[in-house]
């Protein structure tokens, strides 16, 4: 579920709040903890010339410049996760064992233009 967006959302590429509730997806009887977690997602524009400040690669900066000259022919770069962090989930598996497992790349910490 995505909480209601702030009143004046920034149009630039940045992490957006997204809370994943395990009970929303009907997993609450086998996931022990957490009940949910803040996963976030990336959204926003990579416009010229700001892309240079938005965690962008050199190529993305070039692409925004070309897009500004030829918007129809070349799209903007994409706003994607560039730094993620893991979470641990405690759950019962298919044999009723108690499992604590580390999952990589589950939380978006930073976004960038690529």
């Amino acid at each position: 579920s995505a909480p209601s967006p702030p009143v004046t959302p920034s149009p630039l590429c940045k992490p957006r709040r997204l809370y994943i509730s395990f009970s929303d997806v009907g997993w609450e009887n086998w996931i022990i903890a957490p009940q949910g977690y803040l996963a976030n997602y990336c959204g926003g524009e990579c416009p010229f010339p700001l892309a240079a400040e938005l965690n962008s690669t050199n190529h993305a900066v070039l692409q925004t410049m070309v897009h500004s000259l030829d918007p129809q022919g070349t799209p903007q770069p994409c706003c994607v996760p560039v730094r993620l962090s893991p979470i641990s989930i405690l759950y019962y598996d298919n044999s009723d064992n108690v499992v604590l497992r580390h999952y990589e790349d589950m939380v978006v910490d930073e976004c960038g233009c690529r």
């Binding site: 997806v25 997993w27 009887n29 086998w30 022990i32 903890a33 957490p34 730094r83 962090s85 893991p86 979470i87 641990s88 989930i89 405690l90 759950y91 019962y92 598996d93 298919n94 044999s95 009723d96 064992n97 108690v98 499992v99 604590l100 497992r101 580390h102 999952y103 990589e104 939380v107 910490d109």
Partner: protein
């Protein structure tokens, strides 16, 4: 599709697969969560993102590499003593179904825990010794012929919980078998009274569980990258 057959939406199936699960668990007799797992879970939650990333393939609490910690409940049964010495107080088949372990997982730690109802037993009395032996066994509870015990301990003091490191016995680093069968024997000796009367400790026997720490495939890839 398999997903439809299991009543799951394709998205849910894909998500479960990405979490390393073949289908949605539906626990029938959920065991209480061992305190050690709560401690590890809460400790990791307090770690800042970058440090959590660094420790994703290590279990600091147990000081071993690992990304998955599982606690398996014992599915064995008590066996008749059948020993002529009469000193045997308890003989139990411990059976752990390890089929939940996935291909490519590497074992880094195996710890057996025996728990006793501490409140009902206050012995052993002075001069009394409890002897505990653990053997590899067949799934039917028969000890492997010609094999000595995996471990042998003597106790003059009984604690609520006894922990035994079986990593060496289970050859940490290798892929464990699909199940593990062990034969547990507790006998008593010394002290006044008949051996039978010395067996209070085994009556206090409550439960046993096996904790395994493994390195999942994601850690192998990280290792090669590093």
């Amino acid at each position: 599709s398999p997903a439809a057959a299991s009543g799951l939406s394709p998205q849910e199936s894909a998500l479960l697969r990405s979490l390393g699960l073949s289908h949605k668990p539906s626990p029938k007799s959920p065991a209480p969560v061992p305190p050690v797992l709560w401690r590890i879970f809460h400790k990791r939650r307090t770690l800042p993102g970058p440090q959590a990333e660094l420790e994703s393939c290590r279990v600091e609490e147990l000081n071993v590499p690992g990304s998955i910690v599982r606690v398996f409940a014992d599915q064995g049964r008590f066996l008749p003593e059948g020993q002529p010495q009469g000193r045997l107080c308890l003989r139990k088949l411990l059976f752990f179904n390890l089929s939940a372990l996935e291909e490519g997982e590497r074992l880094t730690m195996a710890q057996l825990e025996l728990r006793f109802h501490h409140s009902s037993y206050h012995g052993p009395s002075p001069g009394q010794v409890l002897e505990l032996r653990l053997y590899r066994a067949s799934p039917r509870g028969l000890p492997r012929p010609g094999r000595g015990p995996l471990l042998e301990r003597s106790f003059v003091q009984l604690r609520k919980s006894l922990l035994f490191d079986l990593s060496a016995a289970l050859k940490a680093g290798e892929a464990p078998a699909r199940n593990l069968a062990l034969l547990l024997e507790i006998s008593a000796s010394g002290g006044p009274g008949s051996p039978r009367s010395l067996c209070g400790a085994s009556d206090a026997f409550a439960a046993t569980s096996l904790l395994l720490v493994t390195l999942g495939r994601q850690c192998g890839a990280a290792r090669s990258r590093r």
